[in-house]
């Protein structure tokens, strides 16, 4: 798999599993889970620095930015204006121009607001940011985002944190046929087989957070996800057999006794 690298906007990624840093018990657990996942990309949010409690530990003391690519997101933004502001600050705080853009449309579903996404993407691309958009599993939206300069798209598998897995594999397939950029399934996967399914479909990577952080044993689940991605990717490249309704014998019939 070493020659099977993912490249987005000239940046080379060694892992096809990207993980978030939210919802862990503490930074120690975050660190161990991230190590077990084998990832080289971690997503982080952009928040006000705590000016009262300066003793609070910093995530970057545990997640070495030299070892991992830090992918800031605009989580929590409900308007294009807030997302643009947050993304610009993220680009200034970070070392790359890479940002995972989220503009949430609704608190209950956390589904993206497509119109606001397009608006924010347009501005940020002009500002020179590399925008990876979190989007609905909508091929038309994917095409529009790529047309205005996104070097990859990140359709959801199911609502964020739902663990429902890939609800619409056919749309994910159509997105992959519609755009000629990497497709990263983002959000909604629940367990290792979901990740394997995404990779078997031909997706380029999977980003997840809750499925690991919320598992009873996050570190073991992180390792399971790592294997899920590797297995799914290998199966996709190996080319599966066609599905048929009836049996096909796998042993030769020649030389059977009594024939």
């Amino acid at each position: 798999m070493n020659d099977d690298k993912l490249v987005i906007a000239g940046i080379e990624f060694t892992s096809r599993l990207w993980v978030g840093t939210g919802k862990y018990k503490d930074f120690e657990e975050t660190k161990k889970a991230i190590e077990a996942s084998g990832t080289d990309v971690v997503t982080v949010s952009v928040r006000r620095v705590n000016i009262i409690d300066k003793s609070k530990e910093n995530l970057l003391d545990y997640i070495d930015p030299k070892k991992y690519k830090i992918l800031p997101n605009t989580a929590g933004c409900y308007t294009a204006k807030d997302a643009i502001r947050t993304a610009m600050l993220a680009a200034e705080a970070g070392i790359t121009k890479l940002v995972k853009l989220e503009v949430i449309g609704d608190e209950k579903t956390l589904f993206p607001d497509n119109e606001a996404m397009l608006e924010a993407t347009q501005v940020l691309v002009k500002e020179g940011l590399i925008v990876l958009p979190y989007m609905s599993d909508d091929p038309i939206m994917a095409r529009k985002l790529v047309d205005i300069g996104c070097p990859a798209v990140m359709p959801l598998a199911a609502p964020i944190g739902s663990g429902l897995g890939i609800r619409n594999p056919y749309n994910i397939k159509i997105i992959m046929e519609t755009v000629k950029v990497p497709v990263i399934v983002d959000a909604g996967v629940g367990t290792a087989s979901d990740v394997a399914v995404a990779m078997e479909l031909g997706c380029d990577a999977v980003l997840l957070n809750t499925a690991i952080a919320g598992a009873k044993d996050p570190i073991a689940m992180a390792e399971a996800m790592k294997h899920g991605v590797i297995a799914g990717r290998l199966a996709y490249k190996a080319g599966r057999i066609p599905q048929k309704l009836y049996a096909t014998a796998s042993s030769p019939l020649e030389g059977m006794i009594g024939s």
Binding site: T21, V46, R47, R48, A93
Partner: protein, 69 residues
């Protein structure tokens, strides 16, 4: 002097620069991004950008969070 820092009133040393403020807050300049009155201040301008009485300053950094959190 008094400024608005991350949405709260805060007293900081008079004539502070952004760099001075970050030092006062014991924050590592390379790990944050700063807005002065809604305009992003580039890192190389931290030492030369002065804060005035009543200014609004935002200091943000990367925190734990995967997706909408």
């Amino acid at each position: 002097m008094n400024i608005s820092l991350n949405g709260e009133k805060k007293e900081i040393p008079d004539n502070a620069t952004i760099l001075g403020l970050l030092e006062f807050l014991k924050t590592q300049p390379e790990r944050v991004a700063v807005e002065l009155n809604l305009n992003i201040v580039k890192k190389d301008a931290y030492g030369t950008t002065n804060i005035k009485e009543g200014d609004s300053v935002e200091v943000v950094a990367f925190m734990a969070g995967g997706m909408d959190s």
